[in-house]
């Protein structure tokens, strides 16, 4: 008696499968090639789960990044909330002319560039140095503890961070001024003096983000082929030489990519931290484009002028990121696209 599952009409099932496969192969060889739309449809049918997972991100981009672009046109209009975006009359470059003759705006642009340059100079290398230092720590528990401590500020709200900074630099009870007084000097009113705003702001940014930012570079370091180090050890390199001659050159592509991204954000100085730390007495050095836009747009109701300033910001950032990417591709074969 034959097993019903092992044959088809008395023919062993293996033979039936082989014949079916051959028939399919023959048919596919003689078939007319599918049209493009059929191929696309087939592709979507086959891979729909991947596109379903992509959908939330696409929706986010459309709602929060592409749809607001429609509103950018008010930078060229005499916008009124009663007439709406479409109903407001076009006025050409008038807002931009106003911006570039406005001393406060020009000061905000200068401050933004100055603070960004400081951030780039001190804030960008900080996570790299931190990652290189972590990489040299051999004691696992000590390394983990130190990493947790430096990652922590990233997860604290900027409001609390600003609170800590304000308290620490308080002229009456702040730890910094207590120390200064202990040394026999007069307390300094740090947060009301324009010359102190930038160092405090940049320092706070480093404290808050350097640890978390080091994760990317630690991951890049973890990807360096261990035999490069072993080979260097046999060649006689010490740890310092290995860091300079192997680790840093190996993570250079990651450093460049992060630098390009950072340059793209040059005009985006941490808006909320500035708002939380500055005050009218420090506007001279603290007022940046975003805070100026906030004051003009939301507090004074000049939405069209604020949109023009925002557009200017975006164009500058776009040009910078394009230039950085092109230079990086030309000189180091590394680029974002």
């Amino acid at each position: 008696m034959s097993d019903r599952n092992s044959d088809v009409g008395g023919i062993p099932i293996e033979e039936v499968v082989v014949e079916a496969q051959e028939a399919l192969r023959d048919r596919s060889q003689t078939r007319v090639p599918d049209k493009n739309w059929v191929k696309v449809l087939d592709h979507f049918k086959r891979e729909w789960q991947i596109y379903a997972m992509l959908l939330p991100t696409l929706i986010w981009f459309v709602v929060f990044l592409y749809k607001p672009m429609y509103g950018l046109q008010i930078a060229f209009k005499d916008y009124s909330i009663f007439r709406g975006v479409a109903g407001s009359p076009w006025i050409g470059w008038e807002h931009f002319e106003t911006l570039f003759t406005n001393d406060q705006f020009l000061r905000a642009v200068r401050n933004t560039i100055y603070i960004s340059a400081l951030n780039l100079l001190f804030g960008f290398p900080a996570p790299i140095i931190l990652a290189l230092m972590f990489n040299e720590v051999m004691h696992a528990t000590y390394k983990r503890t130190a990493q947790t401590i430096v990652y922590l500020p990233h997860f604290i709200s900027s409001v609390i961070i600003a609170g800590i900074v304000i308290t620490a630099f308080s002229p009456s009870a702040g730890i910094v001024n207590t120390f200064i007084s202990w040394l026999g000097f007069e307390p300094i009113y740090f947060l009301t003096q324009p010359e102190w705003f930038r160092p405090i702001f940049v320092g706070t940014g480093i404290w808050q983000e350097a640890g978390f930012g080091s994760i990317v570079f630690l991951a890049a370091i973890a990807g360096v082929n261990p035999s490069l180090y072993e080979s260097a050890v046999v060649d006689g390199a010490n740890r310092w030489q290995m860091m300079w001659k192997i680790t840093i050159p190996s993570i250079l592509p990651t450093i460049l990519i992060m630098l390009i991204i950072r340059i793209g954000n040059v005009m985006e100085v941490s808006f909320e931290l500035v708002i939380l730390l500055y005050q009218p007495s420090t506007y001279e050095t603290a007022d940046v484009v975003n805070t100026w836009v906030y004051r003009q747009g939301l507090q004074s109701g000049q939405y069209d002028l604020a949109a023009a300033a925002g557009l200017f910001n975006a164009v500058v950032a776009f040009v910078l990121v394009m230039t950085a990417n092109t230079l990086s591709r030309r000189f180091s074969r590394t680029s974002l696209w």
Partner: protein, 358 residues
């Protein structure tokens, strides 16, 4: 004397011991190959010689000096790694000069050395290229060049050809052999490929499970394996091993008795493993051979010869036979003839080779 001497070398990771007391003397200018299956401890042993792994116990001497606590850079060894370990951001010349720059050799001397070695290895046209722009064989040569420029006392090779395709591997194998003959530097070479071991080595060290199974010249190991492991590891295909019992005149395997060469008096009834190399059998009967009936399963043509996959009782066997340009006559093979003097006997319990007064 730039020899390497390992005495009772042990490597343990915590409670786990992976190398169990290795004794090995590598003479000056000798090319010794450590061979064995994955995880047998051969790479660990090499890394202990290089100083990349700490030695748990035992003594390592290089050039007559105890090296257990000496830093890798001061051992005067150069190592070629399995994945070449070339610095991707440096070009060929800079890669080769790396160790010399670290040792602060004068620039003009570095250039002369690099040029000389590049000439030997045929790398002169590629000195400005980065590793990514080289083929596998060229990268391998750069890795060797980096070791050669140092003029070390000992070369250590850690499976340097395993990332190459079969054709390139054969070519590079010959180049390594030529280079060793030319430079005459003491070399320790690790591989799991027995063909590499047989073709390159002055002496082969067969390792298994953290221990040395046998040390000897390639032909010594091939002709007189110390145990069933070595017999099964060296040779392609490996030696056939069949369970048998000694009789007054030979070894009985199932219902077949294979005549043996030499006296086996007093060992009748002893359980043995009978070893027959695939290439030692003949299809035609001749003097001093015994017929071994087989059931042929498969014929694999290799060109001038073919592999006959067969079984005798429960033992799966592989034999080599000449094709003479045609394999059809091999499908009818039902018997092979085993020369008595080429049969190897091993103790069935310990697996050790038996020499019963032959």
């Amino acid at each position: 004397m730039s020899g390497v001497n390992l005495s009772g070398i042990v490597k343990a990771y915590g409670a786990l011991q992976v190398v169990h007391g290795i004794d090995l003397n590598v003479a000056e200018k000798e090319f010794v190959v450590l061979v064995g299956p994955s995880g047998c401890g051969k790479s660990t042993t090499l890394r202990m010689i290089a100083g990349l792994e700490e030695i748990t116990d035992g003594d390592l001497m290089i050039d007559g000096r105890r090296m257990n606590r000496v830093a890798p850079k001061d051992r005067d060894v150069a190592m070629v790694f399995q994945n070449y370990a070339l610095y991707p951001h440096l070009n060929v010349a800079e890669n080769m000069a790396f160790g010399l720059r670290i040792r602060k050799m004068p620039k003009d001397q570095i250039k002369t050395t690099i040029d000389d070695v590049a000439e030997i290895l045929g790398l002169t046209p590629y000195l400005d290229r980065r590793p990514a722009d080289l083929s596998g064989g060229q990268r391998q040569r750069v890795a060797m060049g980096r070791a050669i420029v140092r003029h070390p006392k000992v070369f250590l090779f850690d499976e340097p050809l395993s990332n190459l395709d079969a054709k390139l591997r054969t070519q590079m194998r010959a180049e390594i052999k030529r280079l060793h003959n030319r430079l005459g530097v003491t070399s320790v070479y690790v591989t799991h490929d027995q063909v590499e071991a047989m073709t390159l080595a002055d002496r082969i060290v067969v390792m298994n499970d953290g221990r040395i199974e046998q040390i000897g010249t390639p032909m010594e190991l091939f002709n007189n394996p110390a145990n069933t492991f070595v017999a099964g590891f060296l040779g392609s295909p490996p030696m056939n091993q069949m369970k048998g019992v000694l009789t007054e005149t030979g070894a009985k395997i199932g219902n077949t008795e294979l005549r043996l060469h030499g006296a086996i008096n007093g060992h009748q009834g002893r359980d043995v493993i009978v070893g027959v190399r695939p290439e030692h059998v003949t299809l035609a009967e001749s003097e001093g051979t015994t017929a071994l009936p087989i059931n042929l399963d498969l014929v694999e043509p290799l060109g001038s010869e073919a592999l006959l996959h067969a079984h005798h009782g429960e033992d799966n066997l592989v034999f080599k036979a000449d094709t003479n340009g045609d394999i059809n006559h091999l499908y009818g093979v039902g018997t092979v003839h085993v020369p008595a003097h080429l049969i190897k006997l091993f103790d069935a319990e310990t697996g050790r080779a038996l020499n019963l007064g032959a």
